[in-house]
């Protein structure tokens, strides 16, 4: 039980971190460097999972993606497949809950890059995308890495929304936090202890790394 939960957690969280990394960076860039109508709205929506109780977020996810959900309903009718109770649901729940952390941290990191560097790149003939990858990203990379590590840790510990959207299906969606919950409820102290130890060790390492990375990058 421990081993399968551990493996599942690792796979789910790795997938979620990839999703978070790409989308989080995109949102962070939009919020840091672009002005548009509804910008504050976007910021609020992206921050929401950080502030709402996880079960509320889970509720909205199930209303959206469930077999009779706004998006999940048509999907199920056409393909007979729904995301609920599959490992993908665990990935979605983890990604949604950890995204705000990535966006906030990355946005701050991107905003800390002097815009003059980006303008210099434009005067040298480069477009926005090339400037982002060759100048902005490298200069912001420590903060962005910190964001990724933090998101990874948050995704690893995700419970409430996962329980609602993915359910507790051993081997398929029973990640470590769900396994701990079940172990405690079933009176299996040793299992609970081992799982808790693993999660704590990973979280402490993540916090340590985040702090080290967050010390601003100094050139000279």
């Amino acid at each position: 039980m421990i081993w399968s939960a551990f493996k599942l957690s690792l796979v789910v969280v790795s997938c979620a971190t990839v999703v978070i990394g790409a989308s989080g960076l995109a949102f962070a860039y939009l919020l840091a460097r672009r002005d548009f109508r509804g910008k504050e709205m976007l910021d609020a929506v992206v921050t929401l999972p950080l502030v709402l109780p996880p079960t509320v977020t889970g509720y909205y996810l199930i209303v959206l993606l469930g077999r009779r959900g706004l998006l999940g309903g048509p999907l199920y009718d056409y393909t007979g497949w729904a995301v609920t109770f599959t490992p993908w649901a665990a990935v979605v729940a983890a990604a949604v809950m950890a995204l705000p952390l990535m966006v906030k941290t990355s946005r701050a990191a991107l905003e800390s890059v002097n815009p003059t560097y980006e303008i210099a790149s434009y005067t040298l003939g480069k477009g926005e995308a090339e400037t982002f990858f060759r100048i902005t990203l490298p200069l912001a990379r420590r903060g962005i890495l910190a964001g990724l590590v933090l998101s990874f840790a948050r995704a690893l510990g995700e419970f409430g929304a996962t329980l609602m959207l993915a359910g507790n299906v051993p081997g398929r969606t029973q990640t470590m936090p769900l396994a701990i919950y079940e172990a405690v409820a079933a009176g299996e102290e040793r299992q609970a202890q081992i799982l808790a130890l693993i999660l704590t060790a990973v979280s402490v390492t993540a916090v340590y790394l985040t702090n080290r990375l967050s010390r601003s990058q100094v050139y000279g």
Binding site: I119, A120, Y122, T123, L139, Y219
Partner: protein, 227 residues
């Protein structure tokens, strides 16, 4: 070679005003090839003029053309993005990319294909400015004078149609300044494109400029052909 006719309202909380009292930039001048100096006290609109030409900021109305090529024309609805303007810019704080070496900075804007060709050309420019030794150093390891040369080399390496310099010598000491002025003049002759050089220092202007425009409170208060 450079034709500028622009109007822009600045100040009172607008994006480019930054807390200054509101005033309007309203200028029209034509500069020949060679070094044109833009003189004026702080806040007279010199840097803003450079930013308008580079495309960092757009005028409210007007037209800007370099070598006959239109960069901006409010009547025609033309507003080229920065990267298409072929404007070399030497910023006041140089804005050298901190994570790239001097050679990499210079090679950044080159259009030549292939890393080899680029680094070779970068080497040539470094030699031109007598800073070959700086090739593999990071910007923070260079002196102010060296950084300024790298910044100018970088701008020239991108094969610009015009080079804009924003008070490039303000952070450099007296002694080095004189030498750098000569190098800038020489660089312009070699590149054979117009240089627009912003400064508040009359002496610099007189040493450099073939043509000098003085700004006061957003308007041209004096124009002079010097040589």
């Amino acid at each position: 070679m450079l034709s500028v006719k622009v109007r822009k309202r600045l100040g009172d909380g607008r994006p480019n005003g930054a807390g200054r009292a509101a005033f309007t930039l309203d200028l029209s001048f034509d500069a020949p090839n060679g070094v044109t100096t833009l003189l004026g006290a702080s806040g007279s609109g010199k840097t803003t003029t450079l930013r308008l030409i580079a495309g960092i900021v757009a005028p409210d109305e007007g037209a800007i053309a370099v070598g006959g090529r239109v960069l901006f024309d409010s009547a025609e609805g033309i507003n080229l993005p920065i990267r298409h303007r072929r404007v070399g810019f030497v910023f006041q704080d140089y804005a050298l990319f901190p994570h790239l070496t001097a050679a990499q900075n210079i090679a950044y804007g080159m259009k030549a294909k292939g890393a080899g060709a680029k680094l070779e050309r970068a080497g040539e420019l470094l030699a031109l400015f007598h800073i070959e030794h700086a090739a593999h150093r990071l910007p923070h390891e260079l002196s102010g004078g060296e950084q300024q040369r790298v910044a100018l080399a970088r701008a020239l390496a991108s094969d610009p149609a015009i080079v804009l310099l924003d008070e490039p010598l303000s952070a450099v000491d007296e002694a080095t300044r004189s030498r750098l002025l000569d190098e800038i003049a020489a660089a312009q002759r070699a590149a054979n494109v117009p240089f627009l050089y912003v400064t508040h220092n009359r002496v610099e202007a007189e040493r450099l400029g073939a043509y000098s425009v003085t700004l006061g409170h957003g308007r041209i208060i004096h124009e002079e052909r010097l040589k």
